[in-house]
């Protein structure tokens, strides 16, 4: 029993160390030429353009359900006018970055783990090494930066969609149109709120990509191993986002 706990602890510590090493190597290798522009642009498209529908739907429904929940509650003490402010702040600062980040972890992080993991178990990573190509430089660096850049852009679009989703629900579904909904949102949401969400999203993006690549590169044992790596990538990236969210919020405010 103690042996088991000890073994688990060692494994966790070893994993954390290996992950930290991967991230620091990824950062260091960013500035070592050549930069993989082609791979980078391919990833920008995959992460950014292709994730837009998922993030859009997530934001839309988050905005609507939040409006639904709060509008009813606020009406009880005639504070409906504050619903836009609450929606704006909650969506921009917290909900869209975190939920959008987790959706992207499910979509992109898992795909990265599966792709890199398959490359690992079919010796393609070794083949890269043999062809004098550093796998971290070739695979991890472009994915890390592409996700760290694209996730904030996705979240920015998601913010707007979520806020409009709230307005749509209140005006069209609850049939209680509020004049100046958008003005009320902007009255309370400052640029800082928006930027804090963007900074969070950049970190979340980096977490999603590095965890995905880390799990991929650590894959062992054929198809089953790839499956395990994919699951682990999504779970760990999602947990990482939630934990990082707390610390980032603490630092940013």
């Amino acid at each position: 029993m103690f042996a088991m706990i000890g073994k688990k602890t060692i494994n966790i510590a070893r994993g954390a160390g290996a992950y930290t090493l991967l991230v620091s190597q990824g950062l260091a290798k960013t500035f070592v030429p050549p930069f993989e522009w082609r791979e980078f642009i391919k990833q920008l498209e995959r992460v950014g353009v292709n994730s837009l529908p998922v993030v859009a739907v997530t934001s839309l429904f988050t905005g609507m359900v939040l409006a639904l929940q709060t509008y009813d509650g606020f009406r009880r003490f005639q504070a409906e006018a504050y619903v836009p402010a609450l929606l704006g702040l909650a969506l921009v600062r917290e909900l869209v970055p975190v939920l959008g980040g987790m959706m992207v972890a499910g979509r992109v992080g898992s795909a990265m783990a599966a792709e890199v993991g398959t490359m690992k178990v079919t010796s393609q990573i070794d083949a890269l090494e043999v062809m004098a190509t550093n796998p971290i430089q070739f695979l991890v660096v472009p994915r890390m930066w592409a996700t760290a850049i694209m996730l904030p852009l996705l979240i920015a679009i998601g913010d707007l969609i979520g806020i409009y989703g709230g307005q749509f629900l209140i005006t069209s579904i609850l049939q209680e149109p509020q004049t100046g909904y958008m003005d009320r949102v902007f009255e309370f949401v400052d640029a800082e709120d928006f930027w804090s969400g963007m900074i969070k999203a950049a970190f979340f993006g980096a977490i999603v990509a590095t965890v995905g690549c880390y799990q991929g590169l650590a894959t062992r044992g054929g198809a089953e191993g790839v499956g395990r790596a994919t699951t682990a990538a999504v779970v760990q990236a999602s947990l990482g986002i939630l934990v990082a969210d707390f610390f980032l919020t603490k630092v940013l405010f």
Binding site: T118, T122, S123, Q124, A127, V130, A132
Partner: protein, 256 residues
Amino acid sequence: MNSPLIKLEMVKKSFGDKAVLRGINLDVQRGDSMVILGGSGAGKSVLMRHIIGLMRPDSGHVFLDGLDWWQMDQRQLYETRKRFGMSFQEAALFDSLSVFENIAFPIKRHRRDWTPAKIANRVHECLDLVGMPSVADLMPNELSGGMRRRVGFARSIALEPEILLFDEPTTGLDPIMTSVLNDVIVNLREQLKITSITITHDMSSAKAISTRLAMLYKGDIVFTAEREAFFNADNGIVRQFVEGRADGPVTEGLLS
């Protein structure tokens, strides 16, 4: 005798409690076609990974022209890797790239001054050398096992390496494809004048391509000799392996 191109000195490697290489000594001379024979699980692939510096030995050294892989910094290590071409057991082609792009991959990375036309020329030259002139536009998953390996060969020679490593080039292929691949390897050696190291357990392939052979058994090189001497050796392990008999020291070793 000249100093060897590749020299392994007391290379040991274990995974957990399992000793896979137990102190390997091996010299490969320039121009040799070395074939390393060994049964399943003898440590052949692990040995190959040490030769090209993908795995670090627990103790011992792998020298290339007198330079130890693990004394080099990363730039030197990658510079040295460029002198090698390696073809993997399952070809290890990049699935997301076409055959053309797979072969062009090392060229684009390491010959940055080449024009696209020159790259295309070289790719087609490599495909011709392995006897597959018309597959450049296909994707790896559209090829059969034997074709994939040949494309893997083509990729490994794209940078005109001095040393070629073949990891079980013919395993799992039919006899005809096996001899086609043997011919390809012999042709590559004769046309490009390169040193090659092949690991295999396929005797027909070993006979066809070797100039020297080494017998790997339970993580040790138990016998090394020139081609003729090797096939006539009276070493028990070699004899059993060459003749493919079920009874002999190898089987006894397995049972004991």
